[in-house]
């Protein structure tokens, strides 16, 4: 079964991770722009980060047979620095037009400040202007209210719910997101957020419609194989393969295809690996024999 990890920060991961992911069946990933563990202090740092998602990281993924797409946006944590945030929003439109960008994100609330809300709304407007779906981060603290507030903001601005993927859900937020008509992501984490077995219970209760799972793996303690592990847990619990395939492949493809930037024929075919390729003169190899597939 082909698997899709619709939220993973590959810039923080190693080539060992790419190899293990490819072996476990992951054929496509979406890497949302997010914060990098500590606040950036210059707009230029954002720009270089955006470029690395579009350039080197996409190339790195391709070297392991994984199709790499990304989302572009100003994350809520750094949105609280208004001077920086205005600068980022100024450069963002250009990046939203680039190939491989399949949504605006991660956007949303962190501390749920008025400043965060301002940049959330401005980026919803950008998503409409650039005809893109949005990937929405929900806060760690005061999560249920933050999720409900997010849905209210989407409604108040008439943002089409079918173009919104609200992420990091748990038992208390999922029913609200589904009732609103948005798509619901679940970040399967070793300790916090959601785990495989709780996810099985949620799928048994709510089915597969508009439901996605991801690893949200980054520079913290996280596991890039959580999508295959959740698929396995679902299978072991007797969940039908068609439901697993919808959650782990069909739904993310359908959601991000709304960007018009995800070629359905291309993604349906296996990406061929040619490790002889170079990116700006750089190879991911360090003396190994390049793998070349037809």
């Amino acid at each position: 079964m082909k698997l899709f990890d619709p939220h993973i920060h590959m810039t923080s991961r190693t080539t060992d991770d790419y190899e293990a992911m490819a072996r476990a069946g992951i054929a496509a990933v979406v890497e949302p722009a997010f914060w990098v563990g500590q606040p950036r202090t210059h707009v230029g740092t954002f720009e270089d980060y955006f470029l690395s998602l579009l350039g080197w990281e996409r190339f790195r993924a391709s070297q392991f047979g994984i199709r790499h797409y990304c989302t572009m946006g100003l994350n809520p944590k750094e949105a609280n620095d208004a001077k920086l945030a205005d600068g980022v929003l100024e450069i963002l439109p250009t990046y939203l037009e680039k190939q491989g960008v399949v949504a605006v994100g991660e956007i949303g609330y962190d501390d749920q400040t008025p400043t965060e809300e301002h940049y959330l709304v401005r980026q919803l407007e950008l998503a409409r202007a650039h005809e893109l779906p949005v990937l929405i981060h929900t806060p760690h603290r005061d999560k249920k209210r933050g999720t409900i507030r997010t849905l209210e903001v989407l409604r108040a601005h008439g943002f089409p719910m079918e173009l919104a993927l609200v992420d990091h859900n748990n038992e208390e937020t999922l029913p609200h997101v589904l009732d609103a008509g948005a798509w619901a992501g679940h970040s399967i984490y070793p300790k916090t957020k959601m785990d495989e077995h709780r996810m099985v219970t949620l799928v048994q209760r709510y089915g597969s419609e508009r439901i996605l799972v991801n690893s949200a793996a980054d520079w913290g303690v996280s596991d890039p194989l959580k999508v295959p592990k959740t698929a396995k847990a679902m299978r072991e619990a007797g969940i039908d393969d068609t439901i697993i395939a919808a959650i782990c492949w069909g739904n993310p493809v359908a959601f991000f295809a709304q960007s018009g930037r995800l070629d359905l024929a291309e993604i349906a075919s296996a990406a061929s690996v040619d490790q002889r390729q170079l990116w700006e003169g750089n190879s991911v190899l360090r003396g190994q024999a390049p793998v070349v597939e037809d």
Binding site: G37, P39, T41, D110, D111, R141, D142, M194
Partner: protein
């Protein structure tokens, strides 16, 4: 400023008590140097350098003061206080912001602790609130623990988020100064919401949830 906050002499005394003669004379020279203290780059350099001369040993700043300042924190607070006393408001805020933004983890901790001894600390509340967004626990604790500024100067939303983050990270809320006086219905709602989310996930509820709810009941 906290009326119990140590003055510059006390900070220098605390820092130098266990320090080498070289370190002690360096610090006395810096805090007496009228030229250096109004030169932001020189202050930044001295702030960074302090850790090479002073250690991590805990120093006692006098009754009622934060318990776990290091000699380096005290030396840096002396330098920063000396500088802030000599420059206007706008420059003082910019200096504190720069020291925090461009600081490594130890410098960030020192800046946050120093806010407790600077005059008119409400000027620096932006840095203090921003520090609560850190992912780094020692930096978070430097503002959340044993610090007079949050309870006295944080807007409600920032104070609530700080308490909730402390519970979330397992950083004891008992060391949040003035917690009892800042508990309100909104904070109670947020803390109860967190407990409910943990129960729905089949997870344990941290003891500090009960502590906050008990304090709320006692003060209502």
């Amino acid at each position: 400023m906290d009326p119990r906050a140590p003055a510059l002499d006390e900070l220098v005394a605390a820092a130098t008590r266990g320090a080498s003669e070289r370190a002690a004379s360096w610090l006395r020279e810096v805090v007496d140097d009228e030229v250096r203290l109004v030169d932001d780059n020189a202050v930044r350099l001295a702030f960074a350098r302090a850790a090479r001369l002073f250690g991590d040993e805990t120093v006692v700043l006098g009754p009622g003061s934060a318990a776990d300042w290091s000699a380096t924190d005290a030396a840096r607070a002396a330098v920063l206080l000396g500088a802030v006393q000599r420059i206007d408001d706008e420059r003082a805020v910019a200096l504190v912001e720069t020291l925090y933004r461009a600081g490594e983890l130890g410098e960030q901790v020192s800046v946050l602790r120093a806010l407790a001894v600077l005059p008119d600390p409400q000027r620096f509340v932006g840095v203090a609130v921003e520090a609560c967004r850190t992912n780094t626990e020692p930096v978070f604790r430097a503002i959340a623990h044993d610090h007079p500024v949050p309870a006295r100067h944080f807007p409600a939303l920032a104070f609530h988020q700080m308490v909730l983050k402390a519970i979330f990270l397992g950083v004891p809320v008992a060391r949040i100064v003035g917690l009892r006086g800042r508990i309100d219905d909104e904070l109670v709602r947020m803390v109860e919401g967190y407990a409910s989310e943990r129960r729905a996930a089949g997870r344990s509820v941290p003891d500090d949830v009960d502590l906050v709810l008990r304090l709320a009941k006692e003060s209502s």
